[in-house]
């Protein structure tokens, strides 16, 4: 197999992982912060509703975080927690989807697009009171770039095999030197947590960096630049964070954020149990909700309000096995792949799928029908010219007829589709058994295709074995799956787009593009990555979306809305469609009347 390109790796990270935040641990005992005269703090003033200090907020987390260490975290609960404890240089505002200053108060790009000069805020301090300066940034990126650390984000900093280099100009100015102009570098700063050198240098030198950041770390040995810091961890039950008194943001009236004194994460493994906890008032906020649970909660809103933030960045799709299975493939599979490779067959399937019914029946109307990978929730990048053909069984039948399929009538009144060799069209669709939404989609598609005379079986599979079949053994016919972009920027889905990408699901990790249109997409995506203006990138990306829609390797189905809810007492609750959906403004969340006393 060809070594994955830098592009592929870059996207690999972006979509599989986080854009969150980061932290570290020191094993030594921490002395009190140096008593040096502090320079004037340059705090970031946030607009918006002014809240009230104090209280604690209890929320549930789908699972126990594996680590607090941003260098090794990959799971969602860890990302969610780390996001509230760490901060980045430049941040993407989840409401506007645009970049804005964070730890860096300003940045400049050289005319050739190769040098990014970032100026840090003055007077920044970690949550343990240690000052933060350019050396921490240099140290942080040294860690991310060190191969031995195995940071999952590392590949994002490598361009055509060459890493980004950093130079310190003075204690508050850093220059990032890129080997190649890169259109979205400033967006890429989002999620790179700046780590405390004073805590991590020693474990790093001892080669123990991967072991730091366990949840059992004593609170005084862990620090970050985020709004909250570690207070207590009870295994299997909860993680308690407390307010970071050194946080670098204030509200419009100059009160230092965050408002909350404590943020408690309860570990609640199932979605239904989370709903029950929220309903009983034990937790104050709920997110990542399914539409059915949302309407259950919406039905009796008294103490809480439910928010439908509109279509998010999750896209669900059906795809066929287009892998080159070689000579050892069973003849039956070769036969099936002959249908799947036929563009008209895929177009017919797409034309027969009732997307509106999926929106209505699976998401109770809380979703948007989808014809491309970029969801309507991604306002800047969705291609408005992309055709949205309505469902048409007639058109589907016509396409099948053109492709040489015909209908046989075996006596019992039903007619079955058969190919030009007289073989009945029969295949199975695998779907995640853990996702009732995707199983339902598959069942609806099964019925849609039955009307074309295709005999489809739906096979619910446990997620891991499903992914194993799709990416490793390739023993499947068709699959219903979903994915979510972590950022609105196209590059977060690069490993779906590129033929060399691991999430190019219908035929992943190709050495060479298998078809001319895949080669075309590869070219467009690579070009947009290095194009310098938004307009150029948008044009290229739109074209890529069109090529994908013309060739239908993925039959896009629907994008669900981001659904969340919070108690009425919680102020500044504005769920966004980008992760983290409800905690992107956690520093501004506050409790109105001091009524929240839920968890122990």
């Amino acid at each position: 197999m060809k070594k994955p390109t830098a592009n592929f790796k870059r996207c690999w990270i972006l979509s599989t992982l986080l854009l969150s935040a980061f932290t570290f641990i020191g094993r030594r005992a921490i002395a009190s912060p140096p008593e040096k005269t502090t320079e004037k703090e340059e705090l970031l003033v946030l607009p918006g509703e002014v809240g009230r200090r104090g209280e604690r907020l209890v929320v549930s987390l789908r699972g126990e975080p594996k680590t607090l260490n941003p260098l090794i975290s990959v799971d969602t609960p860890s990302r969610e927690v780390i996001g509230t404890m760490q901060a980045d240089l430049v941040h993407i505002n989840r409401a506007t989807q645009l970049t804005e200053p964070a730890l860096a108060k300003s940045w400049k790009i050289s005319p050739d697009g190769l040098r990014y000069t970032l100026v840090l805020r003055r007077g920044l301090k970690f949550s343990d009171g240690y000052p933060m300066d350019a050396d921490d940034v240099l140290f942080t990126f040294r860690l991310y770039l060190d191969e031995k650390v195995h940071a999952p984000q590392r590949d994002l900093l490598i361009f055509d095999g060459k890493p980004v280099s950093l130079q310190k100009v003075d204690s508050h100015t850093i220059v990032f030197q890129l080997p190649k102009p890169y259109g979205v570098m400033e967006r890429m700063f989002d999620g790179w947590a700046i780590l405390p050198r004073h805590l991590l240098e020693k474990p790093y030198e001892e080669g123990k960096i991967a072991q730091v950041g366990a949840l059992t770390t004593p609170p005084n040995q862990w620090a970050g630049l985020g709004p909250f810091r570690l207070k207590e961890y009870v295994a299997g039950q909860r993680l308690v964070l407390e307010r970071n008194p050194y946080y670098w943001k204030t509200d419009a009236k100059g009160n230092r954020l965050p408002y909350l004194d404590e943020l408690v994460f309860l570990f609640v493994p199932s979605a239904d149990a989370q709903v029950l906890r929220f309903q009983s008032g034990e937790t104050g906020v709920i997110s990542r909700l399914g539409a059915e649970n949302f309407s259950v909660l919406a039905r009796d809103q008294k103490d809480y309000a439910m928010v439908d933030a509109g279509p998010g960045l999750e896209y669900n799709f059906l795809f066929f096995n287009l892998n080159d299975l070689g000579e050892k493939a069973p003849p039956e599979m070769i036969q099936k792949q002959k249908w799947f490779r036929d563009l008209k067959f895929r177009q017919a399937v797409s034309s027969a799928v009732d997307r509106e019914a999926i929106v209505r029946l699976v998401y109770q109307g809380r979703g948007a029908a989808l014809w491309g990978l970029v969801t309507p929730g991604n306002r800047r990048w969705a291609d408005e010219k992309l055709p949205h053909p309505p469902r048409s069984l007639e058109k589907a039948r016509e396409l099948l007829k053109e492709a040489g399929f015909s209908w046989g009538v075996p006596g019992n009144g039903d007619s079955w589709l058969q190919d030009s060799n007289g073989k009945p069209v029969e295949f199975s669709i695998i779907a995640q058994s853990s996702s009732s939404e995707r199983s339902k989609m598959a069942a609806l598609i099964q019925d849609d295709l039955k009307q074309l005379g295709m005999r489809v079986q739906v096979v619910p599979l446990e997620s891991r074995s499903l992914l194993n079949r799709v990416t490793q053994t390739k023993q499947y016919d068709a699959c219903v799956l979903g994915a979510a972009s972590y950022d609105a920027d196209p590059n977060s889905d690069i490993n779906v787009w590129l033929s060399s990408g691991g999430l190019h699901l219908w035929n992943p990790s190709q050495a060479h593009p298998a078809t001319p249109w895949e080669a075309e997409i590869d070219r467009l995506i690579n070009e947009q990555m290095y194009a310098s203006t938004f307009e150029q990138r948008k044009k290229l990306y739109d074209r890529a979306q069109e090529v994908l829609a013309e060739n239908q390797p993925m039959i896009f189905l629907v994008s669900p809305n981001i659904l969340a809810g919070a108690k009425n007492t919680i102020g500044n609750f504005h769920p966004a469609v980008l992760e983290p959906y409800v905690f992107w403004n956690v520093e501004q969340l506050y409790l109105k009347n001091g009524t929240e006393n839920a968890a122990r």
């Binding site: 239904d272 059915e292 209505r360 199975s428 609806l444 019925d447």
Partner: protein
């Protein structure tokens, strides 16, 4: 006599219940797999005789449902749109008793669909699914019990009649089977099968697994009866006259086990229906869109369905009359068996 009457009553009741399920195609208004995507989770429709103006109608009617404004799962009756109920209309094709192609249904509605027990997540008629689902569940129970009793009878008879090492071996095997965690066994078997199993194969797989796993208990009961029967005077006499083992078993000993086997059947059938429901509930049974009581209930695994749509519980209620019927039958059979034994003993003493 009283006993006999009770037995007849139970048999009649069960016959009626099974008849309804066997003729599901006739009693069900629609094809159980047909989706009506306009009405997911529609609550059971009410049949009216009096309209909103207070007029009495000779023919019962239903109002077309419509979505409440701004909602996707709350319905209300559209009182401007009454649809009369039709009896014996022609509708979807079905096969009566598995081979007679028919289109006649017990009832339907003119230019509309009538959902007496509401619909499921895909807008499929819950009544039709319940009736057709009963076919799968009950046949699985009956066939499974048949297999169990056949195996149990053979093994029990061999162990009891021949005794010795055969008895020891078979009874230890029975104990092993009783200790088997059959649910996990089934998970394991399913994992070895190909990805997509057709509904028919899945159905027979369930029956075979349920049937073969439960033989131990009936085998032990049969063995006990055989042990006592083979020492009875008439058996000894027959043996004295030179009867072969096969003849003795067939003619004298196995008939003695009939009351035990019948009682066991009446107990096992509802248990096996329940077993099929459990397996389908867990997704190991017949695949969608074929209904069975178990996979009809599987949507209740979701909290939102559990608390929002009460008519999704109905398949669980459907098993109750069957269970009661079979248990009643079992106790009647048991009593009859006991009485028969006493009777024969008294008669035996007199002669």
């Amino acid at each position: 006599m009283k006993m006999q009457r009770a037995l007849t009553r139970w048999l009649l009741a069960l016959g009626a219940l099974h008849g309804t399920v066997v003729c599901a195609g006739f009693f069900a208004p629609y094809d159980p797999a047909v989706q009506n995507r306009m009405y997911p989770y529609l609550p059971p429709m009410r049949v009216h005789l009096v309209d909103t103006q207070g007029h009495l109608h000779a023919r019962p009617f239903v109002y077309q449902p419509k979505l409440r404004v701004g909602s996707f799962d709350q319905y209300e009756e559209d009182i401007t749109d009454p649809r009369p109920v039709k009896f014996l209309p022609s509708g979807d094709y079905y096969r009566l008793l598995g081979f007679l192609s028919c289109r006649r249904h017990l009832f339907g509605a003119k230019n509309a669909r009538i959902y007496l027990l509401g619909t499921d997540a895909y807008g499929r008629d819950q009544l039709s699914r319940l009736l057709f689902g009963g076919q799968v569940s009950l046949v699985a129970g009956l066939l499974g019990a048949g297999i169990t009793l056949l195996i149990g009878m053979c093994i029990g008879a061999v162990a009891g009649y021949f005794g010795g090492w055969r008895d020891t071996l078979l009874m230890r095997l029975a104990e092993l089977f009783m200790a088997l965690p059959w649910l996990y066994l089934l998970f394991a078997i399913r994992a070895f099968l190909p990805l997509a199993v057709s509904p028919l194969k899945a159905f027979f797989l369930i029956i075979v697994v349920i049937g073969t796993v439960g033989w131990a208990r009936p085998a032990r009961l049969v063995r006990g009866v055989v042990l006592s029967a083979k020492e009875r005077d008439f058996v000894r006499a027959a043996r004295g006259f030179g009867a072969t083992n096969g003849y003795l078993l067939r003619r004298h000993i196995l008939p003695e086990t009939s009351s035990v086997l019948l009682t066991q059947a009446a107990i096992l059938i509802p248990q096996y229906v329940l077993a099929e429901m459990t397996l389908s509930f867990l997704g190991l049974g017949v695949p969608e869109p074929v209904p069975s009581w178990g996979n009809l209930l599987s949507s209740l695994q979701q909290y939102s369905v559990l608390i929002s749509h009460w008519w999704m519980y109905l398949p669980a209620v459907a098993i109750v009359p069957f269970y009661l019927g079979y248990l009643g039958l079992a106790s009647s059979l048991h009593e009859r068996g006991a009485a028969y034994k006493i009777e024969s003993r008294i008669l035996g003493n007199l002669t």
